[in-house]
Amino acid sequence: AQSVTQPDIHITVSEGASLELRCNYSYGATPYLFWYVQSPGQGLQLLLKYFSGDTLVQGIKGFEAEFKRSQSSFNLRKPSVHWSDAAEYFCAVGGSGGGFKTIFGAGTRLFVKA
């Protein structure tokens, strides 16, 4: 069955500290992988995506993610967190041909402390 697992429901990091959000997926075909961010009261915004090629992808706001096929993982990282990064982060996996194949994880809420 196709699924996305985000093991951490919430994470708290200090401002300036590094961040890693975990994502594991199960998908029968070659996956398209995404990270979306949702600020309070807002819709989801694409942070980055992986379709093929270099397994380390760069996104907006200084985020990056690494696709590891052997581990079925697509973890999101940021070297130095800012208070404005506090939000909920969703990992998603999909296939070719349309967004209706996209499956979302349950999300990880990030808290940033001063």
Binding site: F34, Y36, G94, G98, G99, T102
Partner: protein
Amino acid sequence: NAGVTQTPKFRVLKTGQSMTLLCAQDMNHEYMYWYRQDPGMGLRLIHYSVGEGTTAKGEVPDGYNVSRLKKQNFLLGLESAAPSQTSVYFCASSSHATGTGLSGANVLTFGAGSRLTVL
């Protein structure tokens, strides 16, 4: 650039009432989607459309109907609201697949959400 606009943003209904959520996009996207978001469950696809005049069921379609009479609009209807439909609803859209450039069809642009409470 408005992107995806949802109306209304908030609504309270009584059990058994009906309502329609409207989604409008100005990006000329072929694909449109309705999701619901519930705590701890991420986003679940209700219905989607791959073009004007077409609709299809997603993961959780029961109790909802949709229509796509115009390319830019996608309506979500609840004929008889139930408390289990209390949720935040998100509309999204994506461009169509073109040759090897399938990436556009998979990147979703979301609206700001509509919070529905059914009493």
